[in-house]
Amino acid sequence: MSRIMDIYKQLQKMGANGATAAEIGDIMQINRSTASRYLNDLVKARRVIKKPGKPVRYAVTQSAYEDRAESHIIGSGESLQPLLETGLAAFLYPVRPLPILLTGETGTGKSYLAEKLSDMAIENTKDNKDAPFIAFNCADYAQNPELLVGQIFGIKEGAFTGADEDKIGLVEQANGGILFLDEIHRLPPSGQEMLFYLMDKGVYHRLGEATKERRAEVALIGATTEDSESYLLSTLLRRFSVKLDVPPLRERTTAEREALIDYFLSEEAAKMKTELSIEETCRQAFVTYECPGNIGQLKSDIQIACAHAYLRFLNDENNKVLVKLEDFPGNDPIKTANNEQNITAFKIKTNRASGPSAHLFPNIYERLDSENKHNQNSDNDDLQKVVINYIRDLMKEYQHPSFSSWRDLIDHDLFQVLQNTQDHLNAIVPHEIHKSQLYIIGLHLQNYRNHLQQNVKKDPIPAMVHPNAAYRQAAHQLASQLQAELGMILPHEEIELMAHFLAPEQHKASDLTIEQELAVILVTHGKSTASSMAEVTNYLLGNNVIIAIDMPMDISAEETYDRVKETINNLMGIRGALLLVDIGSLITMGDTIQHELNVPVKTLSSVNLPMVMAAGRQSLISDQTLGGMYDEAKAALMKFTEKDQQENSIQKKRLIATVCFTGEGAAQLLESWLEDQLSTVDQDVLIRSVRIDPVTKDTSVLTELADYYEVIAIIGTVPVTIEGIPYIPAWELLQNEGISRMQKLLEITRKSAVPQLDDYVSGDEIYELIIRGLQEIITYFNPKTMADLLKKYMPPIRGHYGWDSNRELGMWMHIGSMIDRILAATLKDQSDEFLSSVPLDNTTILSEREFEIWNPLFEQLNKTFHIELADDIKREVVKLSR
């Protein structure tokens, strides 16, 4: 493989004139016929053309001849041109390249751009073509800042527990080349300082290496999402002399978007080894739909659509892979022309040039294909499962549809005003106003605005005057801005309340780490079992409460004993330690340590995650005893093993508390938002909004709730500390990590250890089920006709409302049974009686979008069954769907 590339490169150097096979053979020191074979392969791959004549000359194809890194980038001639130019100029800056910071929304292709810029830069330097390009995503180690910094700068042996050998850092690897740090805002402040130092002086230290100064010459590219800019130290931010903002998809030209779509489609086509086409309507859908996850989402949505189409092809419904509108996974339904004759399909040219290595996802099609071939009567279900899992994996990348909608809670104009005022306000107040505070104020005002619009009468809140005049002044400033720009008039007490929002949070997240008087030490066999469990728990509890000691195979029991003893000995002022261990000699270790160190130690064996969680929570409670913690952790073990349902009745109900200063603003908004987000398996979770008084910060309501409920999290705009309950700031939910933290918390507190796997019914299964079900209850039509019709028209409707399978299946049945009734009534001439039996509601108004998605279905029903659906009936169906 590399030989063929060498030949190709050689040929490239020889330009348009090219070379003969013999000449190539001479240069490459291979015989002529081998050279000729390689050359012909290149011709087949269309990278090289044959020039007629004797002997035949070979030359790289013209487009490939100009094949520079730059020309691969879609948009290099348009929206991205200024970016590429500036970026390249920064790299080629005399003496030392200028550091570049790429900003932009998720999925805009920052890392792709970084890579391409590096390619171009390396291509453009005269001497050092082998300059390294090292890319690293700081998010990979975000849960362990120490290790993250260690990855980048290197670690000296013994720098911290577990650092048992010297480790070269990425900076060292990238010396003389380019280092790309994605999600750079994940670096802890200490790491940012080290980076700043490196950029400034070209020197750095390995972790744990205080004296030795190391030198490295590294061109740095950092990338961060726009939101996260506020997490960067301003000193570091300033050090990036070149800042490039990568435009979101919506700001790029239609032509570029089309080019991207074609490119991704051709990538898929190359994977399939069979002809791939796309209907024009579907292609248009991809061109026009709102795609908040940008290029990344566009790509995965296209992959999802292709996977759907491929499944149909496998099921022999089509003789080639045709991506239809129904495969389009986006939320927005498209204005479909109803006349089906007009459907044109475009054949996709495969994009072999990109090579299979470029595909991020495993080649699903080959897997399916072989499964199909090897197993002639292979179960349709199995194939379905493979595809569904694949689609689910893709979906996970872009949590669509619902989670991104959270940001949309705040009206654009409102948020705009807040953003515009930020600088102004910063001039007034002593602390810099954090972006998250703007979201909080935005949420609060949005709710206020909603109430105003809906004419909700509510008791005025008492005016609570903030002691600091600066914040009050800022609040008044903001209020007058809101009035000037939006005509929004806030009453006095609301303005006073805003001062509280503008004041800095009383405790920063780091201050929340409570002095632990009881230590929890987790020791297990295996390379990373203990540290992984501890990581999960510490992350979920938002505190470093669990100390992990791993016991890899090559470490003796004595060594482990010493490490545990040493760890406990180093903990200052603890009242006791709980050892959580798995098996063997670890179980008895605690007793000996207790004697040696004179510290109370208790040991629990057969540790599992619920135990670690319980122990972690208990260790945060200030007046907890070692015995009490031991009992709670032990109970967690029992709870997990005993599947006795009787215990369910005494188990507390799960609850999430939302908090804000009023109990009606952000907390209420969060409450309803959370309710929408809870999946079927979490329907038992109650959500309560709680008011936290801005002055007293009294949390007794929450403590009381904790007595009656299992409070799994407190979410809100006011940081509160309740022992043993994790707090998630509202703004964190704006980011994927906050959401995943919430989901994890829900997951581990679910009562049934086994999630209801059969809860999911796939679209095709609904189809099969409904045909049989309708058979049972209907009289006047063929169930299959109905099922075929619904299968065709339901997907956009399901997508619009974001139904789960329960609701979709229910609606299929409902529509089926309803049509049967209508037919019966029509035949018996009892239409009026029928209509009067339907509870009519004239208040339902169809939105434009609803009209668009429902109308094709209604019209088809009318046409197929020769009926005329009354508007009342239509309204009823739509109402039921919401």
Binding site: Q683, V761, R772, N806, R807, L809, G810, S817, P839, L880
Partner: protein
């Protein structure tokens, strides 16, 4: 007679639920069980809840579960979603099983 089970199956306005109730009734009679199956819309459940021993909610009104379960809780009536596969198949036997299990 003390052991009679009255079950209400709820949907939007009693269209599919009356069909399903019929199926459940048939299944119960076949087994010789004293079960009476009713159908109704979620709207009217509030007033009549006290008459029943068990309530089932059809999948298309799943989003109303919270509301309905509040009412059911008040009257101490066990309530669940109809198993979606059993519902789709209009399988009276299976739904009857679900009712009997729920009543325990």
């Amino acid at each position: 007679m003390a052991d009679q089970t009255k079950v209400i199956i709820l949907c939007s306005w009693g269209a599919t639920s009356s069909q399903l109730a019929k199926k459940v009734q048939e299944a119960a009679e076949k087994r010789g069980l004293d079960v009476e199956a009713f159908a109704g819309g979620t709207g009217e459940f509030k007033e009549k809840a006290s008459q029943y021993d068990v309530a089932l909610l059809e999948p298309q009104v799943r989003h109303l579960k919270k509301e309905v379960s509040k009412v059911a809780d008040e009257h101490d009536i066990p309530m669940e979603l109809v198993d979606q596969r059993a519902f789709a198949l209009m399988d009276g036997e299976k739904v009857l099983d679900q009712i009997l299990k729920l009543k325990k």
